[in-house]
Subunit: 489 residues, 2 copies
């Protein structure tokens, strides 16, 4: 889907350079500025490399996907989409670009990561950084107050005014279902709440204006040590060391619902209205997660901060835990594979009247998961089938091409996944070998005698057993043996 949008927009980049210059300031001063930059760049970049020899390759930074890699991707996407549908989600799609203003001011410090482009006709465009902000823009634009949707097979969100923590719990349930189905090893979902973080910053003595930037520092605790985070807070962000230490006492704690209850009794934190709301909601969330049977997968972790500005409530992030097989290779986890949270203010930022649509969602780290699944399959030396063919239509004798064509056509029309070798007179051995290589489980063999008797010889490739099946029963028999539904849409 996304490709079409990408193409539409890329087409417009044609000639964007000259128009872009015009658009940005359209002044002679600017042009002189550009001249300066160009000469500087020329000096930096050294000799002109544009006249290199033609090499057979894909553009830098891009790659092809082989059938094997695509089979892995498809399996991962199937698991994810299957789960989203099981939870009743609709699907939408939005363009790869958004107006620059749409994305501005939604991400906080992560906004460094937004790529700006220029389009013709006076529109400043940026590449979308996530699917959440475009989704919020979509809701506001279409005046929707209520939707459960997924987006490009990796983002799931529930928008609407509902009773507390029910949609939030469903998002965590979905995350756990997907990660369990993918069988990529043990995982843990860290949970926290933006309100608890803000309340904690307040009682530790952080000024309001520094909440977001300190939040962004805390968010690094899964990658670097507390000492480093403290240094950043004190050195770069100007926090008093004793304030940082107070934060340190909190953010190094994690646990289950008992930690929630303990903090509800914390003399300072329990005095902060925001923190109290957050802790109350987390308590309710844990009740629902217990009913969903996933409470053992969840860890309340005060160091989880999620750097994005738009979160307003519960936040979460799933990490893979070290599996025994990986001991010695990876430190303690292999990083985040899914994440999300509640963002109740984002749609209101787009609505002309500021009407709020509370939202909660999650995003699956599909690229990371592809790599993990690919690696695991390679380690296991597991064979990945790249087609779903159920049967090869073959013949043992010569001059039976017409009969093979007729039979394979009958099978296609009946919804059986079937192939034949594109040879007039292929050897039976070659036909059987093709099945071995492609993992095709059955061979339907036609011979003069079979034609006379109105039967087809059905051979199992692995067991080598052969039985004669009446031609009119062949489809049913193939369906039964392969356990696949008929392929008719």
């Amino acid at each position: 889907m996304a490709e079409r949008a990408a193409l539409e927009e890329l087409v417009k980049l044609q000639g964007e350079r000259v128009r872009g210059l015009k658009q940005q300031k359209a002044s002679a001063e600017l042009i002189e500025e550009e001249v300066g930059k160009l000469l500087k760049l020329k000096a930096q970049l050294g000799p002109d490399e544009s006249k290199q020899k033609f090499v057979l390759k894909t553009p830098k930074g891009t790659r092809d996907y082989s059938p094997r890699q695509m089979a892995v991707r498809e399996k991962v996407f199937d698991v994810i989409i299957c789960c989203f549908k099981r939870h009743g989600a609709e699907v939408i799609d939005t363009p790869v670009f958004e107006l620059k203003e749409t994305l501005t001011g939604k991400y906080g410090e992560d906004s460094k990561l937004i790529y700006d482009l220029k389009d013709q006709g006076g529109e400043l465009l940026s590449l979308r950084y996530d699917l959440t902000v475009p989704f919020a823009r979509y809701l506001a634009m279409n005046k929707l107050t209520n939707i459960k949707r997924y987006h490009i097979a990796k983002d799931f969100d529930i928008a609407g005014n509902f009773d507390p923590m029910i949609p939030d719990a469903e998002c965590l349930k979905i995350m756990c279902e997907i990660l369990s189905s993918l069988q990529i090893g043990d995982f843990l979902v860290k949970v926290n709440d933006r309100r608890i973080l803000d309340g904690m910053f307040a009682i530790c003595g952080v000024s309001d204006s520094k909440f977001r930037t300190i939040c962004s520092s805390v968010d690094k605790l899964d990658k670097v040590s507390w000492e480093e985070v403290k240094n950043e807070m004190v050195g770069e962000k100007g926090l008093a060391p004793e304030v940082a230490d107070r934060i340190g006492d909190y953010v190094q704690q994690h646990g289950g619902v008992s930690l929630v209850e303990q903090l509800l009794q914390d003399p300072k934190l329990s005095q902060n209205k925001q923190a109290l709301e957050g802790l109350g909601d987390l308590k309710l969330l844990f009740e629902y997660l217990t009913l969903f049977g996933i409470d053992d997968k969840i860890s309340f972790d005060l160091s989880l901060a999620r750097g994005l500005d738009y979160y307003t409530g519960v936040i979460y992030e799933a990490v893979l835990l070290q599996t025994p097989a990986q001991a010695g290779e990876e430190p303690l986890g292999v990083g985040s594979v899914a994440a999300g949270g509640r963002y109740d203010g984002l749609v209101g930022m787009f609505d002309p009247k500021g009407r709020k649509v509370p939202c909660v969602g999650l995003s699956i780290g599909v690229e990371r998961i592809f790599s993990i699944v690919e690696q695991r399959l390679e380690a296991l030396e597991e064979k990945v089938r790249t087609t779903e063919t159920q049967v090869l239509v073959a013949s043992a004798q010569k001059k039976l091409l017409e009969e093979r064509l007729k039979l394979v056509s009958e099978l296609w029309d009946a919804g059986i996944k079937a192939e034949l070798l594109y040879k007039k007179n292929p050897k039976l051995l070659n036909q059987l070998q093709y099945c071995e290589e492609a993992g095709i489980p059955l061979v339907a063999i036609i011979g003069e005698q079979e034609l006379k008797d109105g039967v087809i010889k059905l051979r199992s490739v692995t067991s080598r057993e052969e039985v004669n099946v009446r031609r009119e029963d062949l489809v049913e028999e193939i369906k039964r043996r392969t356990g696949q539904p008929l392929c008719i849409c």
Copy 2:
């Protein structure tokens, strides 16, 4: 899939403007040239429009896809992918960009339509124009001589050295299967052969160097009259009028296998080696198409030319025929919805040693088909379900949220597509109304009495019938009633 590649590449466009200038010539002269262009453009474009007010919209030329539109797209893609898999195809993907040299010289006059971009690091890039040239590049790069694959759910190709016309016939079979399954009205597949066209040009007196450009003129015959085509040939392309008239006598003919046989007897055409080969192959093709049961859908049409340079043999194009309902609205057909042909030389153009890999393929015009299906559904005022939810978990009494959460979780874990309203105490009427609106066929109702009895009340939304089902039988009963397989991946 394609999106990731698009993003990867787009990321690189950041700052491409300045580097692009550097790369192209990197000279002060160029910069002065650019300055001139800019000033000219500025004058043409009028006042600076970059400071426009923020409007809630998508970038120009792009659009969102609503759940309803996505449901249509998904159905169309399902039909196409289902058919490709039924025919044993693997799937690959390639980047949205290719090196400019990869695309250069493959398309002929259509090459005007290729969009060039510039990347950093001295690589000149172009947007891919079709999926055929990237596929050929992929084969040469990976030294593959044998593959049957599809690409982004719309392109299907068979590469390899096989006996004549067997893969070609399968491509036509696939085209017919897909267009029949889509139920978008009657269609016809026009077939011709590049060798017949070239032979015909030769015997009519066209010089070799003009074959491709005349081919491209003939290709317009489905849109404009013979008179206009003739004018282009004579006026713009310098053909003698009598040569054009000779071409006219041929290209206005179409028919079935009998026309092939008639032309095999044509005193001039049968003297041309190329034409004779093409006609011989078409005769064989018709035999196979008869075995596949699709010969009635095929028309040998001498005006079909397919402008792309890379075709070497059979070419084809499917057009929708006027349906009675559309009488008066559209002239005779609604244009091409699928097309393809044989391209035996393309892979060799990429192989350093020029090794040939014969290929034949087809491409489905998915955007056109989406519009047609969407229009048809709107005309029929047909309701399109945008979710697949089988059952809503509901309660008639208050204080049963926990029980609803437990039951819906059980159903999800068993592979049933289920939802619940995110309210603590929703009214039964609201729950039933939600089912009506979303097209959910079943409601599983929990009440105090049912909990005591270990049953669930299962209600059909349309018939309003209610029966008590034992809780342990609920999954089986929902599966049976909805006829859907369990949603477990």
